[in-house]
């Protein structure tokens, strides 16, 4: 959790320094959800997630340096610099992608579960999404199909109470999002997303059911500490709401718990803090040292099967070699003669500039 937090803070800083481009959506406040859910998964399980995904990449075991390198758009990035913050992929750790289109990952996850069932495998699929994503058609279509076909998939809703500036109450007629599963006769539950242990147990339970052919909808109540993305000042939140969000920081809560209930010393916490700091600093060094992808790699990933006549033209290139000499064969009589009689176009008309 601490590692995810420090990574996100460092990424946010790099973004404001324009070292990272595009949009940057952070998991700040969602660390207990991210780490608890990922810990409940087996290494062989598959994860489909959205654009708020750095934490998931880290928690699934992806190399920290390669996660940062993707943000920097470098060749060693998780998606070789092609995806950026929103589109990370790591087959080795069965991170099957972050997806930038809200809800786009849900049918894919459902299909991955179909592939597992089809082959008689024991793996399961976890699909994460935001609260806002539960209003998109693909959510409902996916849950229905999964329930109908008894697919091994867990739908995990990260309910951080906001989709950009829209609260759950303003976007969802049934704001108890887990109850939406009832429409598909799917089991569901809601869990405190600030408590990593609770998230872990609930996700494990859901995965057990999913492996038995009972897909599950788990709603995890989290908090978004900051704006929707790094550039969003969250002006739609009142000062009081922002303060309340910050007061729910799961990391503070965990630190208190570790000291009071777990008997951890301040020295121990400081050590973890230093370790997280060093790991993130190293990741950033790695990212900065990694080369940018070479421009001649531009056409490397359009098709998996080579195909004749694939376009490899750069924007300024002609389609055909330009003839070295002018090829004008235009009869002189057209110079003054106006358009040919057979032209489908009428005579020039005045045009307003």
């Amino acid at each position: 959790m601490l590692l995810v937090r420090r990574f996100e803070e460092r990424a946010g800083r790099a973004y404001t320094q324009a070292l990272i481009g595009g949009y940057l959506h952070l998991n700040l406040g969602e660390e207990a959800f991210v780490v608890g859910a990922a810990a409940a998964m087996k290494p062989t399980d598959y994860l489909f997630t959205n654009y708020r995904e750095h934490g998931f990449a880290i928690a699934r075991g992806a190399d920290l340096g390669r996660v940062m390198a993707e943000l920097y758009g470098r060749a060693d990035g998780l998606s070789k610099g092609w995806g950026g913050s929103m589109h990370m992929f790591d087959l080795e750790h069965r991170l099957m992608g972050g997806y930038g289109i809200v809800g786009g990952q849900l049918p894919l996850a459902t299909g991955a579960a179909l592939a597992i069932q089809y082959r008689g495998g024991s793996e399961a699929v976890v699909a994460t999404m935001g609260d806002g994503a539960t209003n998109i058609g693909a959510f409902h279509e996916s849950l229905n199909i999964a329930a109908l076909w008894n697919l091994p998939v867990v739908y995990l809703v990260d309910n951080n109470e906001l989709g950009m500036g829209t609260s759950v109450e303003r976007s969802s007629a049934q704001p108890d999002l887990h109850k939406r599963a009832a429409a598909y006769r799917m089991d569901s539950a809601r869990v405190d997303g600030l408590d990593p242990e609770a998230v872990y147990q609930a996700t494990r339970h859901a995965l057990t059911r999913a492996r038995a052919g009972r897909p599950f909808l788990l709603e995890v109540m989290t908090v978004r500490l900051k704006g929707h993305s790094v550039v969003d000042p969250a002006a739609y939140r009142t000062a009081e709401e922002s303060a309340q969000a910050l007061a729910r920081d799961p990391l503070d809560r965990l630190a208190r718990q570790l000291i009071v209930e777990g008997g951890a010393s301040q020295d121990q916490l400081d050590l973890w803090e230093r370790q997280a700091h060093d790991a993130v600093a190293q990741a950033e060094q790695f990212a900065k040292a990694s080369p940018l992808p070479p421009v001649d790699a531009l056409f490397d990933h359009t098709y998996a099967t080579p195909v004749p006549n694939e376009s490899r033209r750069l924007p300024g290139d002609p389609l055909f070699e330009t003839p070295p000499e002018a090829t004008c064969r235009r009869p002189n009589d057209l110079d003054e003669g106006g358009p040919a009689a057979s032209s489908p176009y009428s005579l020039p008309q005045p045009v307003a500039a």
């Binding site: 595009g22 949009y23 950026g84 421009v295 056409f299 924007p315 009869p331 040919a340 489908p344």
Partner: protein
């Protein structure tokens, strides 16, 4: 605005173009004002909301959040939640709902956050908005506007950097406009709102901060007309949306460096396409380069080039050249993204090579005047 369609509900009279009514923007409306593309859109939306009670805005984050790109800033405050309607993330649902509301005479203006997300509403736009007037024998029309920005170049990756206006420009029954300047944004938005057909109104992320003169009392521009925005003799550059400003910059550059006198045609409307204007231009200049911010194959540039082939073949002194994106899903990493997108240098190169092919600057052997 002559249409056989019955406009249902109370809105029948509201589609008549009328003078802007009193409001905060009225004071400035006699003289031209310099404003951004963003501001031109916002002011025009506000004027139309004031003018016609059947106009309402529907979209994600347009109210409380004041618009992802702040086009609708302040509108919720002035017009309230009945007319500035925040929606759930449900593009297909709310776009389709706007089609239905338009069938009953409302004039919804839908904001789709970016054109990439319009794909989730493609079915409602193509199968319903575009079809209802024709399929039911002209009994009811669909007077709605879908405003949405396209544009790459901001390192948003493959799913967030597309310009899929082509998909809509392909469909009879839809109108598609693509303003290139603040004045065009205002003129075409007025026309789109007052039009009785569904109009896809294409904005561009990289134009929102661009500035220009806007006459707030000017009448709507006509949908379906292109404009010669720079007259010239040597070659016609045809473009729309963001690429118009690239074309104009290239024209200035080549005037200074090569003494070339380029004509620039701004398409403004992608459907209907004003072929006459650019074909006439090419008949005068005898050469053409077509610019687009999108993939080349089957693109809007392909349609323009084919039209020039049919309408001005015998007038051409060189093959028509197109400058368009490399045909890849747009990568995130900056050098790859830059290489894939048409740059000013690509445009200049294509124009120079086309001019060379016409014999330009080779002792004046090609002279048409």
């Amino acid at each position: 605005m002559t249409t056989a369609a019955t406009t249902l509900g109370a809105g029948a009279a509201a589609s008549e173009p009328v003078e802007p009514v009193e409001g905060p923007d009225r004071a400035r409306s006699t003289a031209g004002a310099t404003m951004t593309y963003r501001e031109a859109l916002r002011v025009t939306l506000a004027q139309e909301l004031r003018r016609d009670p059947n106009v309402l805005l529907i979209g994600e984050e347009i109210g409380l959040f004041e618009g992802s790109y702040k086009i609708t800033q302040g509108l919720l405050k002035e017009f309230g939640p009945k007319r500035i309607r925040d929606t759930p993330i449900a593009e297909e649902g709310f776009t389709g709902a706007a089609v239905g509301a338009a069938m009953l005479g409302l004039r919804p203006i839908v904001e789709l956050m970016t054109i990439n997300f319009s794909l989730l509403a493609l079915d409602q736009i193509v199968n319903h908005a575009a079809k209802i007037y024709g399929m039911f024998g002209g009994q009811v029309s669909v007077p709605m506007v879908i405003r949405t920005p396209g544009g790459g170049g901001q390192q948003l990756g493959a799913t967030h950097s597309q310009n899929v206006e082509l998909y809509y420009s392909f469909v009879p029954g839809l109108k598609v406009v693509a303003p290139a300047t603040p004045a065009e944004a205002r003129g075409l938005l007025l026309a789109s709102i007052r039009d009785d057909d569904p109009v896809l109104f294409l904005e561009n992320l990289s134009l929102y901060n661009s500035k220009g003169e806007v006459d707030l009392a000017a009448p709507p521009l006509e949908i379906g007309r292109a404009a010669v925005v720079r007259p010239g003799r040597d070659l016609t550059v045809i473009a729309y949306s963001r690429m118009v400003s690239v074309a104009l910059a290239a024209a200035r550059h080549l005037a200074a460096t090569e003494g070339a006198d380029l004509e620039v045609v701004d398409l403004r409307s992608l459907r209907p396409l004003d072929r006459q204007t650019f074909v006439d231009s090419v008949r005068r200049t005898h050469a053409a380069v077509v610019l687009e911010d999108d993939w080349l194959t089957y693109g809007i540039g392909a349609e323009v080039a084919a039209s020039i082939g049919e309408g001005a073949f015998d007038h051409l002194d060189a093959p028509v050249r197109r400058v368009a994106m490399a045909e890849v899903p747009l990568p995130y990493s900056k050098p790859l993204e830059t290489a894939a997108l048409p740059q000013m240098s690509d445009v200049v190169r294509a124009i120079k090579e086309t001019l060379a092919a016409t014999g330009f600057n080779r002792g004046g052997s090609v002279s048409h005047d």
